[in-house]
Symmetry: C2
Subunit: 131 residues, 2 copies
């Protein structure tokens, strides 16, 4: 189940086709940001964060470098580079019995990269909000 979901996730990331993302997320999915403690609940806000991240990172040599999967969980490690700063992070994904994503958590290192993403994500989300 988790392998199917991750294959669909990669298809979404590669194509940036948001209908694929819509199919993949459960209605009650929760998003956990690398910056803020408070979980973001629901499909609408999770979609906004994931699209924002794709916009910020997608154009900057974004590459998945390690995949670890077992049970209902996958951890996908990635690297990217923005303005000369190397960003290393994980997408931590949990699916339900239907193979839909119910929990999506992102962690980032090093500190410099967390601060940079904080700033860039703020700009991207403001753009979405202004639409």
């Amino acid at each position: 189940m988790i392998k199917d979901a991750i294959a669909k996730w990669h298809a979404y990331v590669d194509s940036n086709d948001t209908s694929g993302l819509d199919e993949l997320l459960a209605e009650d999915v929760v998003f956990h940001s690398p910056v803020v403690h408070t979980p973001q609940e629901g499909k609408a806000i999770t979609t906004m964060y994931l699209m924002g991240a794709n916009q910020v990172l997608g154009q900057h040599d974004f590459t998945y470098v390690r995949e670890v999967m077992s049970g209902d969980n996958a951890v996908l490690e990635f690297t990217a580079e923005i303005d000369g700063i190397i960003i290393n992070g994980v997408d931590m994904i949990r699916v339900n019995d239907e193979g839909k994503i119910v929990d999506f958590k992102v962690m980032i290192r090093p500190l410099k990269a967390v601060n940079l993403l904080h700033q860039k994500m703020g700009e991207a989300l403001q753009q979405f909000a202004g639409k």
Copy 2:
């Protein structure tokens, strides 16, 4: 192989018996901190960082909350709480064919927790260096 190594890792964390850690780490193990990009190479410095982390986090409701393992890799998610700040992180562990840890990476969220750990780890490592 990874499951055996992780069982030994938990035994070390629970006991804080550093001889267990010594057996578990490969000579050429590399440590990747949540704060700094530059990898820390070798068993001596990796041991220092892991003992520092154990000292900083071990007394603060440190709990592993999710384990994902496949192939040579394990990702262990943890939580802790220091001074009212909730710390959420992952230990990302890769082993070699002998079941020894060759790569140990830590990521932390949220931003407030990265900053707090940066400060606390600095203090702990200075203590070790002064010994």
